[in-house]
């Protein structure tokens, strides 16, 4: 069946898929929805298969690659602009996720698409950095006072900043998880362990272990799983890359303990092993096992994530996919905030979605 078509590409990366025309269509559709079209194209180039792809699907792969190449060019440009806008700052400015992979030349950057640039700075610097970015043309467009308060009081980031001319977006963080979250991470612990970005004075990326942990916690706290498979592939790439250096896995597990991120790491490793076969070295297997929650949570999460991590494409939907996605969405909010905050928040959000006009009147 076509349900696992896209994942299976990376399950045995060197096995060239034999696809009918209809399967090609499904594969391209799944890849578009999972934002993996360019990555799929890059994989075909790396394996030397692109020229042998039939004439029908080939332009789709090439087109995806053109778009990703262009976006990467633009992200480099934006990072330069950000560097200039924040040149006077003595405290570090950290690139997170996609921009970090790209600028630090890490494997997940290959064929990756971008929606925004994620930055992290010390919490006490947020306002100063926001003003400096404002002076360089990035404005905060969130007008709704409730949403402003939601972000600034409860979240690990402020509302998105849009550049007035180039329409690019920055998400400005002070840590990687909401302070109200069950997995709250003290941003200063991450800042104590940064790696400078060569050629860009003042810009940094997270340490390898922290980069992996951020990607893992991000995957499960966002509540939107449209990019789930992409995020897992990112993680798999990072693990394969960083584990070339001695002691990486030990450091990773120690760091998960230190930051309290054992459970997100456990779920991420479970699905990475399931889909791509990447696993911790033998001597750490039992320690990885002990990271996880109780048996019931494990089974339930494995089932829900197994469904939700598939591409959001009709060919992948089962009768349970919608339910699994909804449960995970609610769970992601429950992890972010304690019940007395999250329940009123979700009710308000549902109301606003249903009656958006009312919002305009009350604002």
């Amino acid at each position: 069946m076509s349900t696992g078509l896209l994942e299976s590409i990376w399950t045995v990366p060197e096995r060239r898929p034999e696809l009918s025309n209809r399967e090609w269509e499904t594969l391209l559709g799944q890849a578009r929805q999972a934002r993996l079209l360019a990555r799929l194209a890059a994989h075909h180039i790396d394996q030397g298969w692109l020229t042998e792809v039939p004439d029908g699907p080939r332009p789709h792969l090439e087109g995806g690659l053109r778009l990703a190449d262009r976006q990467q060019h633009e992200v480099r440009w934006e990072v330069d602009c950000i560097g200039r806008a924040l040149r006077g700052f003595t405290s570090p400015v950290v690139l997170l996720k996609g921009a970090a992979y790209l600028m630090a030349d890490l494997p997940p950057a290959r064929g990756r698409l971008f929606a925004d640039i994620d930055l992290m700075v010390p919490r006490e610097q947020i306002e100063a950095v926001e003003s400096a970015l404002f002076a360089a043309g990035w404005i905060c467009e969130e007008r709704d006072p409730y949403n402003q308060r939601y972000y600034r009081e409860w979240m690990h980031e402020i509302p998105p900043l849009r550049h007035v001319q180039r329409n690019t977006y920055i998400d400005l963080h002070h840590t990687i998880t909401p302070p109200t979250s069950r997995f709250n991470v003290d941003g200063s612990k991450l800042l104590a362990n940064l790696q400078p970005l060569s050629g860009h004075a003042g810009l940094y990326v997270l340490a390898p272990t922290d980069m992996v942990l951020h990607s893992a916690v991000h995957l499960f706290q966002e509540g939107e799983f449209g990019h789930g498979l992409r995020d897992l592939l990112d993680l798999n790439d990072l693990l394969l890359h960083f584990s070339k250096s001695n002691g990486f896995w030990d450091n990773l597990l120690n760091r998960a303990d230190a930051l309290g991120l054992q459970i997100p790491l456990f779920h991420a490793l479970f699905h990475i092993q399931r889909l791509f076969g990447t696993a911790a070295p033998e001597h750490l297997q039992s320690r990885v096992e002990r990271l996880g929650p109780n048996a019931f949570s494990r089974t339930l999460m494995a089932w829900m994530l197994g469904l939700a991590l598939r591409p959001d494409h009709p060919s992948c939907d089962t009768r349970w996919t919608g339910l699994a996605r909804w449960l995970l969405y609610v769970r992601s909010h429950a992890l972010r905030m304690p019940p007395h905050l999250v329940i009123p928040h979700l009710i308000r959000k549902a109301w606003m979605q249903r009656f958006p006009e009312k919002k305009a009147e009350s604002a």
Partner: protein, 305 residues
């Protein structure tokens, strides 16, 4: 086999179930919809388009779904779905056929990065193409519809597909979208023209689609080289006036009218330079189609001398 060769019941059944696969210019589309108006309009406007077998590769599957639940009966809707996602806000079911046309344009302009894509009409005579870029309301489609019934061949009314290797323009050959007064202007100018039912109160006003002349489809594989770039402007009561325009400024304006100039980066710049190098650029102001026909005929005649 063409759409016209299918019986009405087979056409309906295919559209409702696995979808009807059409060859449209260089692309293949699978159209899926249970909305009866879509089947009717396809019968009228797409009769001469080839139907492909179900084992052919399809570039874009366009689904125009109906609303679900009670809404389907109270406020019937037409919803464009691509890869299972809703791309635009749903429209009244009444707008289904124009929505299908817009959706097909969206598929090409968002994904076909193996062409430089310009938002413009393209017509051809003697192997030479005129690119007619223009913002909505400038009378581009009216002019295009008039000229292709007076000796010019229609390549496209909406999208110029420009080759990244030699700047040749590939015909797309879809119905011409006419709005408001243009519908009656072309009805009078082209006796016997076939139109889709006029849909009122769309975001673009009243809309109707005009069936393409037969030559468009018989010569659909013949590309054309760009020779003129002409920015049309309808000005009521004006006399026709063709004014030379600087190449540099025309190139900027074409870039602005492109869907993927930025995506293509340096390649886009190189291709657009080729187009502009090969083309005389003009502004063209007109109010009467007859005058416009004479001016465009004269362009071709002057080229040959």
């Amino acid at each position: 086999m063409n759409v016209g060769g299918l019986s009405a019941s087979v056409l309906h059944r295919q559209l409702e179930n696995d979808g009807l696969i059409l060859r449209i210019g260089p692309f293949s589309f699978r159209l899926v919809s249970a909305i009866p108006a879509i089947a009717h309009e396809l019968e009228a406007l797409y009769a001469d388009y080839p139907v492909l077998d179900s084992d052919q590769f399809v570039d874009y599957t366009v689904t125009i779904a109906q609303g679900s639940g009670l809404r389907r009966w109270l406020h019937p809707q037409a919803i464009f779905k691509f890869d299972g996602a809703e791309v635009f806000v749903p429209l009244p079911e009444d707008h289904a056929f124009p929505l299908l046309e817009w959706s097909m344009n969206w598929c090409i302009s968002m994904h076909a990065h193996h062409y430089l894509l310009l938002h413009s009409a393209v017509i051809e005579r003697e192997g030479c193409a005129v690119i007619l870029p223009a913002p909505p309301g400038s009378g581009k489609s009216t002019l295009c519809a008039g000229l292709v019934h007076r000796g010019w061949r229609l390549l496209s009314d909406e999208l110029a597909l420009i080759s990244l290797t030699d700047a040749a323009i590939t015909p797309l050959g879809r119905p011409i979208s006419l709005k408001n007064q243009s519908i009656d202007i072309i009805r009078n100018f082209v006796p016997g023209a076939v139109f889709s039912r006029v849909v009122h109160d769309t975001s673009k006003g009243s809309v109707s689609l005009l069936k393409v002349p037969p030559e468009t489809l018989t010569r659909i594989r013949e590309t054309a080289q760009p020779r003129w770039v002409i920015f049309p402007k309808y000005v009521a009561g004006s006399t026709p006036k063709l004014t030379p325009r600087s190449k540099a400024n025309s190139m900027l304006e074409l870039g602005r009218n492109s869907f993927n100039y930025m995506v293509l980066g340096l390649k886009g710049f190189e291709v657009l330079s080729k187009v502009i190098d090969a083309s005389d650029c003009y502004d063209f102001q007109y109010s009467q189609l007859h005058d416009a026909v004479a001016v465009f005929d004269d362009l071709v005649a002057r080229r040959n001398t």
